[in-house]
Symmetry: C2
Subunit: 351 residues, 2 copies
């Protein structure tokens, strides 16, 4: 199973410090003051975390604007996704998407049905209608990884109505939610429906720049939260993930500033890439860009960047994407410039 962020596998191939464009983390780093908070909480490691995560769920309910009875927490978003899969009969997923959806379904011996995104990576609702049955779990990345597109609000409502009609379940993986334009918030959107047949998963990993702390969370109906409680491992969020989750969501300035920063850098990188011969960047709503490389093969381009200290994500391991796609994160201006310069150099060299 290939994933981004695997620096250690490649650090021997480059003499300096690798810049990791393969994992999509907020380049501003975690909220200020978190280090001090964690340092003053180190003794929490000597106790079990609260097995019910009461304070953490309280903090999340304020941040997500839902009742604490609707809150789920897990050891990263991927564990919560895993629990939804355990509780399902059949898993419907669109490809290309995060490889763990299918892997977890395989682990739990669930039947998997794959649907392809359209060529422009949008969703054809009819393709869902043809396949969906009662009790099915439909997983949709919103925005999707590696494609970067967010589902439009009216389409999302139409998908949800279909799921409701069929008595299936819609799981939205919104691990990159905060990077997106503020068009709609699915947690607010589905609140009037009491989150019947729908769950929304997010994480501290990407936007709050804490992949090491392993804090995933989400929102579902009270009934579903109780059902998943029968599946969840005890103490699955570690004590410092618990503490961090009581701290980071309060920092409104950090959230606002990060959103603005990514918006500006996204425009910058997309704009620059669009002028480079031989690469085709796709539109994105988030902090990473899927790029079709037209003149070089994936491995060549990967090595090209690696030699320059830049680790990018090869995408041929994503089912449903042919060879010749890469994904790059949007980082700070200095590193984004390095990336663009490496692309330019490649382009000038030709194939």
């Amino acid at each position: 199973m290939e994933h981004g962020g695997d620096l250690l596998s490649y650090e021997d191939d480059y003499s300096g410090q690798l810049v990791d464009f393969s994992s999509n983390i907020n380049p501003l780093g975690p909220p200020r003051g978190l280090d001090q908070m964690l340092i003053s909480s180190l003794s929490s490691l000597e106790m079990y975390p609260d097995i019910q995560y009461r304070k953490l769920k309280e903090s999340l309910s304020i941040y997500l604007k839902c009742k604490k009875e609707n809150v789920l927490v897990g050891n990263g978003a991927v564990e919560i996704i895993d629990h939804f899969i355990i509780s399902s009969k059949r898993v419907i997923l669109f490809i290309p998407s995060f490889s763990e959806y299918e892997k977890r379904a395989f682990v739990h011996e669930k039947i998997v049905e794959r649907i392809s995104y359209r060529k422009d990576f949008t969703i054809d609702i009819e393709s869902i209608e043809k396949i969906i049955k009662p009790k099915d779990l439909l997983i949709l990345g919103n925005p999707n990884n590696p494609t970067g597109l967010r589902i439009k609000k009216d389409q999302l409502i139409r998908i949800y109505k279909l799921i409701q009609k069929k008595d299936a379940y819609l799981l939205l993986d919104e691990a990159f939610f905060e990077f997106c334009p503020e068009d709609y918030d699915s947690i607010r959107l589905f609140e009037p429906y009491g989150y019947q047949n729908v769950g929304i998963i997010r994480a501290a990993t990407k936007f709050f720049a804490l992949p090491g702390i392993r804090l995933g969370y989400g929102c579902a109906s009270e009934e579903k939260v109780k059902e998943l409680a029968q599946i969840e491992l005890p103490w699955r969020v570690n004590a410092l993930g618990d503490v961090a989750g009581q701290f980071i969501f309060k920092d409104k300035d950090y959230i606002k500033q990060s959103k603005k920063y990514i918006e500006i850098e996204r425009e910058y990188v997309l704009g620059a890439l669009s002028k480079i011969r031989g690469v085709q960047p796709f539109q994105t709503d988030t902090n990473y860009i899927l790029i079709q490389v037209l003149l070089w093969d994936e491995e060549y381009i990967f090595q090209w960047f690696l030699k320059r200290g830049l680790l990018i994500r090869k995408c041929s391991s994503f089912l449903g994407l042919p060879e010749g796609y890469i994904r790059v994160a949007i980082k700070d201006r200095k590193n984004n410039k390095k990336l663009i310069e490496a692309f330019l150099e490649l382009s000038e060299k030709g194939s």
Copy 2:
């Protein structure tokens, strides 16, 4: 599901700081220098942990004296147990034992067969022989929780030979291993067999006093480690668990001192309890004691201790134990004295 260590559920019932006799943690606390190590590693939270946990496994292979290809790591011992259960067909367990064995089997819809320990909480091998079939997973706490008894070396070998003969699998939950007398080390014991049909699980939780960090580990055949790699969640050990695991096992003085400390306190508490009318402590090899209370019901005795700031573990939630059993951890001398005094007071008051 009831567990020890749930201080938050009871802290309103007592005005001061509760002393937690319900979770069995090394009273000496974690190894010295760990705080400084973690503080200097806080930036690791901003990256994904190594998805292969190479340095952590290297450190564990030195500590456990096995090859790094034999090492398993997980989000606490309970997650590794869960993975063994997923990979099994049928789960055989002795009762009373840690409630998560059965719960995880239930989550993964495995058939469960329960065998009762003998009245003195030892194992009747014939009862295993009657029930065990190929591919069965037999889980044994060694020492077992809440009973505290360690399997004798020659009996363990006989159980293992039986498991081998039947082509079943023996999973030893040794979360309390380091507290025990140094009679044998199952990781050394089964090394000549290449860990065929046997896995051993341990954790930093109890002996290294780090329940909040969520670091479980274990040892199995290379083949089994590869099989479980197909089941494991990515990044399941958080970055500071990873760092801690590269630090704590080197502290030989701490390990020696903790073992000695627990040995002395175990003798002290057992000796004192044996002289108290109305309670029957069971022999133990580890840092907790199962006690049959003869004159009071479980809830009464629980509240008695709670009023004195001592949180003990009621045991009626353990399948296979009737009412009237409690479990207490062995702590430092000051708190052990408090516990004994509360028992004495109770005993003098009578029923």
